[in-house]
Structure formats: structure tokens, C-alpha cells
């Protein structure tokens, strides 16, 4: 193959892409759809349930303040602290619940694996940016809120190539 034919062939393989739809995900308008409601863990079978590892959700009516999530995070990110909460719960004698610093969290999900009471899961929420460092620290009350997410974009593959839609 001569040099000229090679260059023409290289240009041609690029020109073909004029007819192909753009693959780019237009992020703030489009958001990728994830499997399920986030990563969860079933302590009886010892296996997790597939899902996105985003911000955590804490169920106040199940958390016993046993510190296991905080112990699991020691040596990884040390992002979990256990402050006192205002409300009193029957199962939580010490009234302490996890507070997560997302400036430190690495989203590995091993705290979810450590929780034996189905109290700590992860959600599909990943937009956690804040102007201050304190804004990244989520208190137990903030963690209890179920996130409102609108994610519906998927990868579609057809004859004209792949695109997000």
C-alpha cells in the first residue's frame, strides 16, 4: 500500500463518521441511568445487590449505633464519625448515628457491607459538590433524606452507531 492510498484511507475512515450520531453524553441535560436504587447488602446471604455506589442513605428506625460502619472505615478513608442525634429510638440506646464526610469518602461501599441491620445503603445521587468543606459533611438527618434523581439516559446501539438517549 502506497503512502497516498494509506493517507486517503485514513481520512476516509474519519469522513465516514459525519453520518454517525455523536456518542457524547450531554451531561447536565442528560444523566446516565443506573441499575436499581444503589448498592445494597444482604447480611444474611453475605452478598451485595448491584447498584451505583453514590451517597449513602441511613434508615434511622433501623440503626442501632453499633459503630460497625465506623470501624470498617478506619484505615480506609476514616470518613465516618458517630455524633449524638436529637431523637431517641428504641433500638438505639446511645443515640449515636453515622455522619459521613464526603471530602474523605472513597465510595468503596465497605461500610454498607459491615452493617448487619439493613440500616445503611448507597443511592444513585452523585452530585455532592459544595462551596465549603463543612458542606460536604452529611449529618445523620441529611443522610436520611431519599435523593430525588432524574436519570434516564442509556446507551443505545443501532445501525448508525452508539449514542446516549
Amino acid at each position: 500500500m502506497g503512502t497516498a492510498t494509506g493517507i486517503i484511507r485514513a481520512l476516509n475512515s474519519g469522513i465516514k463518521h459525519i453520518a454517525v450520531k455523536r456518542f457524547t453524553l450531554r451531561y447536565p441535560e442528560q444523566k446516565l441511568k443506573f441499575v436499581g436504587d444503589g448498592y445494597q447488602y444482604d447480611p444474611t446471604s453475605g452478598v451485595g445487590i448491584a447498584g451505583y455506589k453514590g451517597r449513602h442513605i441511613l434508615f434511622h428506625d433501623k440503626c442501632t449505633g453499633c459503630n460497625l460502619c465506623s470501624i470498617a472505615c478506619e484505615g480506609i478513608a476514616e470518613a465516618i464519625a458517630m455524633p449524638k442525634v436529637q431523637n431517641t429510638w428504641k433500638q438505639n440506646k446511645k443515640s449515636i448515628m453515622p455522619q459521613i464526610d464526603y471530602g474523605k469518602c472513597v465510595f468503596c461501599g465497605l461500610c454498607v457491607d459491615a452493617c448487619p441491620f439493613y440500616a445503611l445503603y448507597m443511592t444513585n445521587d452523585y452530585e455532592l459538590s459544595s462551596f465549603t468543606k463543612e458542606g460536604l459533611i452529611y449529618t445523620p438527618e441529611q443522610l436520611a433524606v431519599k435523593p430525588q434523581v432524574q436519570q434516564d439516559s442509556e446507551i443505545i446501539i443501532d445501525k448508525r452507531g452508539a449514542r446516549h438517549g
Partner: protein, 393 residues
């Protein structure tokens, strides 16, 4: 500067001949003409590293790679953390290839603790590891494109990588740093319709990477820049201890997936790609051929995988090994990746030594760059499949 390293171009002028020249045109001594050039330590593509290059005009006389700018002390850190807590840390050196760097660790601890992995988990591990190898290679290829001034070759692999990242995110829940492998299997089973989605996206991915041949690998401009630059002969490749794609590009058929199969690689038909030339072109093409092979392996694994069953053998919260040591290695995106774990009946490893392909390929760099033109340096350097962060650990 030793005298033997005089480059091809500069014939040393004898004092007699320079005396005959008119004043003002006298040539200087060879040693005075050599200039030291620091390439780095700010790295355009990945982590920081520096190349101390001595040039005579346009030719490289000597090259001294200076790694260590991104040393994180992963091995020492591992001695203070227990076996499960080590998982998110150990994948940090290569976040794009995080499944493959955890693979030898998990295999080693399974041997130390003495647990068996369920059959389905073994296949899912192979699929995750092959997807991750492609993700890494695509990133590497994108940077190779931009090193050679080929912007399209930066955009295409970076975009097509998204197809596989999407699959890994469906499996593990994270786009990079999956923390998916654990001793005893994997963290979670795949979602319900994963097999269909995986097959569709891998098939499309394979079709896409075949298009790279026209624009990149058969492109006369790329061939002119990489062919016959930095030739590493078969004997030198073995003597210098290179591994992975660098070794296979020099004509040595060595792939750990084939030679020492781990997990279920012995049940799959693995073909290793070998090229004889040993130049930068061969070293840039072998990872691309490996990606095509990875697509084959993923399809085979999806077909042979048991459709149901457990994926994780339950471990005690703080698993302990005996008074024992173990060495396991796998084929990563950059070659052989081994971990030597010494246990002393404690929940933490007594010593964890990581042997990485990047560092072993870096050793070949001074030999390849000697006598090359400085303009060929990026083509030779990045073809070595070297990842600074992994080499420093």
C-alpha cells in the same frame, strides 16, 4: 559521560583536523556539545516521572529514567491494615485497571485462608478483569495517540472506553476504582439482563476498535514515526526482564493467562498475540490485538458461565492466614503482576510485595532510547506500556 556512548551521527573530530579549519569554525570537543535535558517531572499523560536525557544535537546519547515522584508506600501501608481493609488501597496505583491489580491479592489470600471460590464468581471475575484490561488499554492508546499528535486517536478510544466503563459500572457500581474483587469471590452478583447488554456492547466495541486499523495502525504517518524506532531484540527482551505486551512484541510467546492459567482461564480458549519486529510499532499494536482477544474471551465466558449460583464464599470478619507465604501472579494490562504475601497468623499481612509490569518495562527504556532521535522519544517511551503511578507503588 563515557566515551563509548558516542552517538551514530557525531564522528569525533580529531585535534589535527580541527586545526586545519579557519578560526571561528573550530569544532568544539564532543563532551562540550552534550546537553542535559530534563523531560518532566510534570507528565502530560499520567503520573509524574522524569527522564534525564543527554542529547548531542538531535540524538539521545544517554537516558536516565527517574521514577519515584508518585511513591505512596502502598506496600508499607498494607502491613497496618487487615486483609479486607486493604482492598480500596491496593487498587489506587492503577485506577483504570483496578480489577487486575486486586486479582493476585485475592488469589493469594484465598490460598492463605483456604477457601474455594464459587464457579459463577470465577467467570464473573474473568469478565471484569478482561473489561478492565480493555479500559486500561483504551486509555493508554488515547495517550499514545496524543503523544504522536493524532488528536482523533485521542478522542476515539476515550469515547469507546465509555461502553466498557458503563458495563463495569453496572457490575460493580463504580466507574473506576471498583473495589469489586474480594477474597472469596466478588462483592455482588450482576444485574438481571447483564449478559445481553454485555454481549451487545462488547460486540459493538469490537467493531469500533477494528476501525482503528484504518486511521491509526495502517496510517503511513504512524508507520513512519514508529517503525524501526527503539528496536528491542528477542534476547534483550528476555535479558532485561520485560513482560507483557513488550515481551510479546519482541517475539516471545509469554502470556500468564495461557502459561499459568488462574481461575477459569484454562477452560477458555486464550490466544496470545506475538509480533516479531520488536519496534515501537509492534509494541503499540500488540495491546490492540490483545483487546480484540479480550472481546473473544468475554464472549466465551458469557457463554460458559453458570446462569445462577452463589458468587461469594462467606469469610470471617477478620480473616487470618497461617504461618505461611504465597506468591500469585496474573496478566494485567501491562504484563505480569505478582503479589507476594507473607502472613504471620495475624489479621494483617506481615509483608506485601507487589511486582508490577510497569517497573520491569521501564528498565528497558535507557537501552531503547540510546542513539534515537529526540523526536522519537515519546513514541518509544509510551510504547513501553508504562504507568508511572503503578511503577512507584
Amino acid at each position: 559521560m563515557s566515551k563509548q556512548l558516542t552517538p551514530k551521527s557525531s564522528k569525533k573530530q580529531s585535534p589535527e583536523s580541527s586545526k586545519n579549519l579557519p578560526p571561528g569554525l573550530q569544532l568544539e570537543n564532543v563532551d562540550d556539545r552534550i546537553m542535559t535535558l530534563n523531560v518532566g517531572p510534570q507528565h502530560p499523560g499520567s503520573g509524574h516521572m522524569r527522564l534525564i536525557i543527554k542529547v548531542d544535537g538531535d540524538y539521545i546519547v544517554n537516558c536516565d529514567p527517574d521514577p519515584g515522584y508518585v511513591h505512596r508506600g502502598e506496600e508499607k501501608m498494607a502491613e497496618y491494615r487487615n486483609y479486607i481493609t486493604n482492598i480500596p488501597h491496593l487498587e489506587r496505583p492503577v485506577i483504570h485497571d483496578s480489577c487486575n491489580i486486586l486479582y493476585p491479592y485475592c488469589l493469594g489470600i484465598e490460598e492463605l485462608v483456604g477457601i474455594e471460590v464459587p464457579e459463577r464468581a470465577k467467570y464473573l471475575r474473568v469478565i471484569a478483569a478482561e473489561l478492565n484490561r480493555c479500559v486500561y488499554t483504551q486509555y493508554w492508546l488515547a495517550i499514545y495517540g496524543i503523544f504522536l499528535g493524532h488528536s482523533t486517536m485521542f478522542m476515539w478510544p476515550a469515547g469507546d472506553r465509555e461502553l466498557l466503563i458503563d458495563l463495569l459500572e453496572k457490575m460493580s457500581g463504580a466507574r473506576v476504582t471498583h473495589a469489586y474483587f474480594v477474597p472469596g469471590g466478588i462483592r455482588n452478583d450482576v444485574p438481571a439482563n447483564f449478559e445481553d447488554v454485555c454481549l451487545r456492547q462488547v460486540n459493538y466495541f469490537e467493531k469500533r476498535i477494528k476501525e482503528y486499523a484504518g486511521i491509526f495502525y495502517d496510517n503511513p504517518i504512524l508507520i513512519a514515526r514508529t517503525k524501526d524506532t527503539g528496536v528491542l531484540s528477542r534476547e534483550d527482551a528476555i535479558r532485561l526482564g520485560t513482560t507483557g505486551s513488550v515481551l510479546r512484541a519482541s517475539g516471545v510467546d509469554f502470556d500468564i493467562r495461557k502459561k499459568e492459567p488462574y481461575d477459569v482461564y484454562d477452560e477458555l480458549d486464550v490466544h496470545s498475540n506475538v509480533m516479531k519486529a520488536g519496534d515501537s510499532y509492534a509494541r503499540s499494536k500488540v495491546p490492540w490485538l490483545d483487546m480484540l482477544e479480550s472481546c473473544n474471551i468475554i464472549r466465551q465466558a458469557l457463554e460458559k458461565m453458570p446462569k445462577s449460583g452463589g458468587v461469594r464464599t462467606k469469610l470471617k470478619p477478620n480473616p487470618k492466614g497461617g504461618d505461611d507465604e504465597v506468591y500469585r501472579r496474573v496478566e494485567s494490562g501491562r504484563g505480569s503482576l505478582g503479589m507476594h504475601i507473607v502472613s504471620d497468623k495475624k489479621p494483617q499481612p506481615y509483608r506485601l510485595k507487589i511486582s508490577v509490569g510497569s517497573f520491569r518495562n521501564l528498565i528497558a527504556m535507557p537501552y531503547l532510547l540510546k542513539g534515537e532521535k529526540l523526536g522519537n522519544m515519546p513514541a518509544v517511551y509510551w510504547s513501553l506500556n508504562y504507568w508511572p503511578v503503578e511503577a512507584d507503588r
